[in-house]
Symmetry: C2
Subunit: 459 residues, 2 copies
């Protein structure tokens, strides 16, 4: 692999320049104002894929934003890897909290600062550059297919239909995704579990209009108080979720498994200090890592009602609302949990108000086997470039497309991400370490090499 390293060293500046060009395109899928930019980003990805050596590249139209396809078939008997990524980004607001503008990438403290630098343009672009590297140095022994979408940040609405319509074109042996984080650069890891999601909205309605709190205060249920009281009843003093049936399908890990988790390096003081919190808080009897990975969670994502401007307005609001989401673990089922939530929240509502509940979004939890050929190839690849074996790690986030690939294509996914939890994805000042970017480009060819070798042996 010496030629490969030499090629990478020689071309680092150009690779960065290309990524910067992509980061400059504000491809915010959530905001129609950026529609042209999203399309521009798709075409940019397609043309770079082609330049890297991919064939049959295409910007495939969908009902929403297009999906970029490209492939390099090297050998009919070799295994095929389907690379998934996304070229759309989260909205960048609030802009005023960015130290440098979100769509003017700069390098600061050894990291690339820009919206999308880590999630997922930077990580996705590693794969395009790795393809270029492998083809230029003639080391690619797998077939590769790319499927890069533009709606990941808004729920991947068009992807399912595209996958259904293109099953043959997408036929592969495994899906490879870099859209997750390492524990740290010193502790490389591969994500082997993702939590699912049930995302609900609750609206509590009281009087038919905002009331004067002096005239009516004390005699009429206040929807903002009631909503607060209902939210308070969602967890007990041990921070366990009180929804009946909620934990019924939750896997309890064995003592051995928990002991293995306890080995994962974690610095509680650094965690608190990085977040600026006086203390952590969570389900009694579990560690912080367990609370964010093997245990479900419930969070209010937004709450609003009544007067929220300056000063004092003496009003009893007519209604109050909250967005409340739950992170699920194997083998909880999103639809079932949403239904249990709705049933419980309605059961605790006092007779003095009306309550409406709606389900906004759902996704199933995922666990990846660690004994598959693809996992072992990924593990060995990271060991080659990081100098130590990566830790199989369950992450707290959800990537709803992973269960979808399993269902529609029958394919497992390898979540070999090179970001860090501190990259501030979805937040102002998102960044991606230069070392992470180049380490990713360096590691990916090893994956293909070991995967081709092991796959041949396992046949």
């Amino acid at each position: 692999m010496d030629a490969l390293h030499a090629y990478l060293e020689k071309n680092k500046d150009r690779f960065l320049e290309e990524l910067f060009e992509l980061l400059k395109i504000p491809s915010v899928s959530a905001d129609p104002a950026f529609k042209d930019d999203v399309f521009e980003a798709a075409e940019f990805v397609r043309s770079r894929l082609e330049e890297a050596g991919a064939e049959n590249t295409e910007v495939c139209p969908t009902e929403g934003y297009p999906i970029v396809y490209g492939e390099k078939m090297v050998d009919e008997s070799a295994p095929t890897v389907l690379v998934y990524g996304h070229y759309d980004v989260q909205p960048a607001d609030p802009y005023e909290l960015w130290e440098t503008p979100p769509f003017e990438p700069v390098i600061r403290n050894g990291a690339i600062y820009a919206r999308g630098s880590s999630d997922d343009k930077g990580q996705m672009y590693m794969h395009i550059k790795a393809l270029e590297l492998m083809l230029a140095t003639d080391v690619l022994k797998c077939n590769v297919k790319f499927m890069i979408e533009g709606e990941e940040e808004v729920g991947s609405a068009s992807l399912g239909q595209f996958v259904k319509d293109n099953k043959e074109r997408l036929a592969a042996d495994v899906v490879l995704i870099s859209d997750t984080a390492l524990i740290s650069m010193e502790h490389p890891s591969i994500t082997v579990g993702l939590r699912g999601l049930s995302y609900m909205e609750v609206k509590v309605t009281g009087p038919n209009r905002d009331l004067h709190s002096g005239i009516y205060g004390g005699a009429v249920a206040n929807p903002a108080n009631v909503l607060s009281e209902m939210i308070a009843q969602l967890k007990d003093d041990d921070k366990r979720i009180r929804i009946p049936g909620f934990y019924d399908r939750v896997d309890e890990l064995s003592a051995e498994e928990r002991a293995a988790m306890a080995e994962i390096p974690f610095d509680l003081e650094a965690f608190k200090s990085e977040l600026g919190i006086p203390d952590v808080e969570g389900e009694k009897g579990y560690s912080t890592i367990e609370r964010t990975s093997i245990r479900p969670a419930l969070d209010v994502n937004g709450i609003w009602g009544g007067y929220t401007g300056e000063g004092a307005k003496t009003v009893i609001p007519s209604e109050a609302s909250a967005k409340i989401s739950m992170r699920l673990v194997p083998h909880q089922r999103s639809e079932e949990i949403s239904a249990l939530f709705e049933k419980y929240i309605k059961s605790i509502a006092p007779p003095s108000v009306r309550v409406e509940v709606s389900s906004l979004h759902g996704g199933e939890p995922v666990v990846t086997p660690v004994d598959s050929v693809a996992y072992r190839a990924a593990s060995k690849a990271m060991e080659s470039t990081f100098g130590k074996k990566p830790i199989p790690y369950r992450s707290g986030g959800s990537i709803p497309i992973v269960p979808m690939f399993e269902e529609l294509l029958g394919l497992k996914s390898i979540l070999m991400g090179f970001g860090l939890d501190t990259d501030a994805i979805h937040s102002p000042n998102e960044h991606f370490g230069l070392i992470n970017f180049f380490k990713g480009i360096e590691t990916i060819p090893y994956f293909y090499r070991y995967y081709a070798e092991m796959h041949g042996r396992s046949k």
Copy 2:
């Protein structure tokens, strides 16, 4: 008083037209966009006062909006009544909920629909027209002074200084105010108690930035959950306020007093139906009327935090806030209650968050004696025009200027209002019954007549 009635009948249309002119001026004191309109309303009031026969009228500048002054001194030995009212109005938004525009008054279903029609332009203007009536028919036997302010809806910030600076000019025997409501037209009433107010804002801060709820959910205190849990701890299951010391100074009424309150006509079904609520809710062991008058109350006036837009954003908010106010009864003290609130809310905050508390507004509760000359005059005046003795009634709202007049001028106030609780003040579609407007104009001269008579006798 026949001449008086005849004059009123003859001039009703003109009186209404004049009021409509005043209602068309959008004198919203809370919004600087309406600054010129607020000044215009002041000058309008002054010129109408002058036309009605008041002397020494003046638009008195203050650091904020001006105070309109005018007087009619008829006899040095006669008692002097200081009329207080306000020409500013609440903001009218949300505009889209008004059936007709808030500043284009119309008569519908026997009522004047416009912002300020009841609170307080319509009620204040009754006094100007009553003055005209009395002077035109030569029946006024009291001295009268008018003090009409333009900052009542934003806390009367300039009034205290004005009163301090004008103690001699404002010297009087009683203050007369029409800025409250009758129980109903069939059950006239005089307000003899007002609740006080402690208005607080609470901000709960967790992580130093919004966090991805997948990555961190379950391990980090969520400020929106924590705030909800803290709000839920403000009341117990009997809806009693749990702040230690909160009830220490609350007057418990005697069985006789409560029996008298139970005589106040009240239709629970009509109350529920008018508000569109499935049921009432309040402190255990008290009636709805008691809950809104002799008992303190606590309400969330506004709550906000996290993502409140369309759809699902998976965020743990960095902070969440609420505006929370308490209505106080004699002899609770606003400053003391605010301090107790702050101490309690901080004591129940978990160690995983930081909590900031600020006091936004305060006012002391008031009770008016029912055996004063002025009260008896007001009672007899209403009996003359309504045909039945008015009920002395404690109202739930706060009028902070009432204790201020007592403190700075040594004057008690008579709260002889002619509105109704259903007037939708501070809400869309505010209105004021035509019959209420004219009944007020008719009743006020009786007050002056009886007050002059009784005052002479009581000397």
